[in-house]
Symmetry: C2
Subunit: 210 residues, 2 copies
């Protein structure tokens, strides 16, 4: 379950936080709506936010055919897709030991283009990740819309996760200092749904959104 990492996925700083377990990776990916995709082109190195979703051992990305990122990413270039969930601010008694709680995954590889015939099912999976069952409700993409969309897959093979959870870890000499210490947790939390117009019945995923 913990493949030997490659040179670029071996976590060196705070290696005790490293996790190469596939279940950890999948949990981080499945909880994410977006990743930051790093790639290099002739203007430099970029990190751009993209929606992402998983089917099996593949991470999927999509966008307009005209996207320079996608054009570049289909060209066989190496990319790095990184997901980070920020779970809290960790306030230690010393400035130096302040940190954050987070779950992150960096996935390295080369993207492949998803064949036209496979796009509808792959895009349905995105829709159903956003809102379970919605792929059977919204109007499906027509031929023109599907043709205008590039869908890429990045194998979930070369990756490193890094996770930090729990309270502050202060130096022993600092534990008696008169300073509040603890965690200020954060969560990407649903807020009340905003309907675009009156519509009944309200779907389950809208009623459950809170």
């Amino acid at each position: 379950m913990c493949p030997a990492p490659t040179a670029r996925t071996r976590v060196r700083r705070q290696a005790e936080r490293a996790d190469y377990d596939r279940d950890t990776l999948y949990a981080i990916v499945d909880a994410a709506h977006l990743c930051h995709l790093a790639f290099a082109d002739d203007t430099g190195v970029h990190a751009l936010p993209m929606a992402c979703w998983r089917i099996g051992d593949q991470l999927y990305l999509h966008g307009s055919n005209g996207s320079r990122m996608l054009k570049h990413a289909v060209g066989g270039a190496q990319v790095c897709a990184t997901i980070t969930h920020l779970d809290g601010l960790v306030l230690a008694r010393s400035a130096f030991n302040h940190t954050m709680n987070y779950r992150s995954a960096a996935i390295y590889g080369v993207c492949e283009r998803v064949a036209d015939a496979d796009k509808p099912a792959v895009l349905d999976a995105l829709m159903d990740k956003l809102a379970p069952g919605r792929s059977r409700q919204a109007r499906p993409g027509n031929a023109q819309e599907l043709a205008a969309t590039t869908v890429l897959r990045l194998p979930l093979h070369e990756f490193a996760c890094k996770v930090r959870q729990g309270g502050p870890e202060d130096d022993a000499d600092d534990l008696a200092l008169p300073v509040w210490a603890g965690v200020l947790p954060l969560r990407l939390a649903p807020q009340p749904a905003q309907a675009d117009s009156d519509f009944e019945p309200t779907p389950d995923y809208v009623r459950a959104w809170r």
Copy 2:
């Protein structure tokens, strides 16, 4: 307020969402606890999460002297620091028009190392961003801790923001479809603070954390 972008910061896809205004940039940076820093080294292209904060027209990053990212970033290499706030899922009546609400900023440039003499004030600003006033409460970094920390600044000069807000934008032909449409908002929300031990008085920033 809207400098002419460079070739790599000119937003081409959905250019109506582009914003080169410095106030927009500062608001996105100041609301963020972390960015994804993209850089390239001899093992490839990376995007790694890092804490970030702003003083004036500089973005600051820090880490251990041993960090390969920081070692590389101080070497004069071009980097891209990207921040994305996800504000909601936008459910349109057609699959194709589904999107997300977000505020993102991509900042390009070359990092400079912050001089040792300037580190304490710059790190205090990070602390006070996490928790206002805390830089006067926590034990300050000692000489050894400060020496072990590399602090970098990235000028907020070459950047592009991209913002999408509001409800779904459906094709006119789709407006009458029997499909719920609207926004499922998201917010990185404070959760109840977790004290590491009993301590009185509770600081203002802990009591206000919710």
